[in-house]
């Protein structure tokens, strides 16, 4: 399911115009983004939690040229499923598209 389908599905269910849904979605994403930039976690109850993790710097070696490089540390977003959702999807076989 891509963004377009998501918007049309939400608009159908909530009986709100696609334009409004699109605005709401953009606002949601920006709310997520600002929360992450402040270093906050975002939890969606019943689904999971988004957390900020620091990945440490590391040394990589190009195996063919033997060139060593230091990769700087970075911050990333990780998603952890909630336990209830974990149990729910445990044995589901997605149909795919």
């Amino acid at each position: 399911m891509n963004n377009k389908e998501l918007i049309s599905e939400l608009s159908k269910r909530l009986r709100v115009s696609q334009n409004d849904i699109s605005n709401l979605l953009a606002s949601t994403v920006s709310a997520f983004s600002t929360a992450f930039q402040q270093g906050n976690d975002v939890s969606l109850q019943g689904f999971g939690i988004f957390q900020i993790r620091k990945k440490n710097e590391r040394i990589i070696v190009n195996p063919s040229t033997n060139v060593r490089q230091i990769v700087p540390p970075k911050l990333t977003v990780i998603f952890k499923m909630s336990n209830t959702y974990k149990e729910k999807i445990k044995n589901i076989i997605p149909h795919g598209k």
Partner: protein, 336 residues
């Protein structure tokens, strides 16, 4: 950066203020959004939200593991997992504090590692060649030799393939070594004939000629002989050289009577002049000391220069005495 948890409620507040929807509507939307997300994850296994990221349902196959507390082997059954890949916009926004950092290439370590790796390879190859030769234990020597040569050729081929740079360096070194050895060879032959002629002119006794040829003490030899014959090895005489060696100062060489003057010609160096005068290259330091007035550094020797060769105590410039040589080398180390 305090780690705070933001719940749906807080998100709703933000959304409501940003858009012209009521809190109630915003909450409804957000809950429905999560709901749809979950539903379509279960259905399609893939949901992409623009600006946030992609959610994917990934199947983890069953695998063996160990219960940490009991040490029992257990099987973790196959299960599904949601993987989240953040959108590039989110990634960049989150990583802002570290955005200025870039990957750095480490130079020194790579050089060391490559240099370390090269000899290892050659050693291994040599070992393998030796092993091969041992395994092929054929009594005929010539056969083994032939095999060895063929192995060597194989080895060089391997080397060429592996590191052509090393081969080039080796070749260069070989050329330099050849040039240096040829140079020494040439100068030695010339000087040998010169020395032989001077000895004949001086009409020295035959015994000293032989001495000169064997260990060229040259013209100092006279005094050496006198000292040795007049005063037979006394304990005091044995101690003396040590004292002279220990108390040597550059002034000693400077104030010493001058034995002869040597004109520097092409190819001459202090070491070579010392070898001709005292019979050992290491004694160049004394010549250098005696000629401090015209030599600022040991490498200052120029063609046409007249260098004074000081007449030094034989115990200081005895090429057969280890202590003399060691002392001279110590001095040389200082002057370099």
């Amino acid at each position: 950066m305090e780690n705070k948890k933001q719940s749906i409620q807080e998100l709703v507040d933000i959304i409501a203020t940003q858009t012209n929807f009521t809190k109630k509507n915003s909450e409804e939307f957000l809950k429905e959004f999560v709901h749809v997300l979950q539903e379509y994850l279960e259905k399609d296994g893939f949901v992409k939200v623009k600006g946030l990221g992609a959610f994917k349902l990934v199947k983890n196959e069953e695998r063996k593991s160990v219960n940490v507390t009991t040490g029992e082997a257990i099987i973790i059954p196959a299960h599904n997992k949601v993987s989240f890949i953040p959108d590039n916009a989110i990634k960049e926004a989150v990583n802002k504090p570290y955005a200025h950092l870039e990957t750095i290439t480490v130079d020194d370590d790579t050089k060391n590692s490559t240099i370390d790796a090269q000899p290892d390879n050659t050693v291994r190859e040599e070992k393998s060649i030796q092993d091969e030769a041992k395994n092929n234990s054929i009594p005929n020597n010539t056969v083994i030799q032939q095999e060895e040569t063929s192995n060597n050729s194989k080895k060089t081929k391997k080397n060429k393939k592996k590191n052509p740079v090393a081969i080039v360096i080796l070749l260069l070194l070989f050329h330099v070594a050849m040039a240096v050895s040829f140079y020494f060879y040439k100068t030695e032959i010339v000087s040998f004939f010169q020395r032989a002629v001077t000895i004949e002119e001086n009409n020295l006794p035959q015994a000293t000629i032989i001495d000169n040829q064997l260990s060229p003490v040259s013209i100092v030899a006279d005094t050496v002989v006198v000292v040795e014959t007049d005063s037979m090895p006394d304990t005091t005489n044995i101690q003396q050289p040590d004292e002279i060696i220990a108390t040597y100062t550059p002034e000693l060489a400077q104030n010493a009577p001058i034995k002869e003057y040597v004109t520097v010609n092409e190819g001459s160096r202090l070491t070579w002049i010392a070898y001709k005068a005292y019979g050992h290259k290491a004694f160049w330091v004394y010549i250098y000391d005696a000629n401090r007035n015209q030599l600022k550094t040991p490498n200052d020797v120029k063609i046409g220069m007249e260098l004074a060769i000081p007449e030094l105590d034989a115990s200081l410039v005895n090429p057969n005495d280890e202590n003399c040589v060691i002392k001279a080398l110590e001095l040389a180390e200082k002057y370099k």
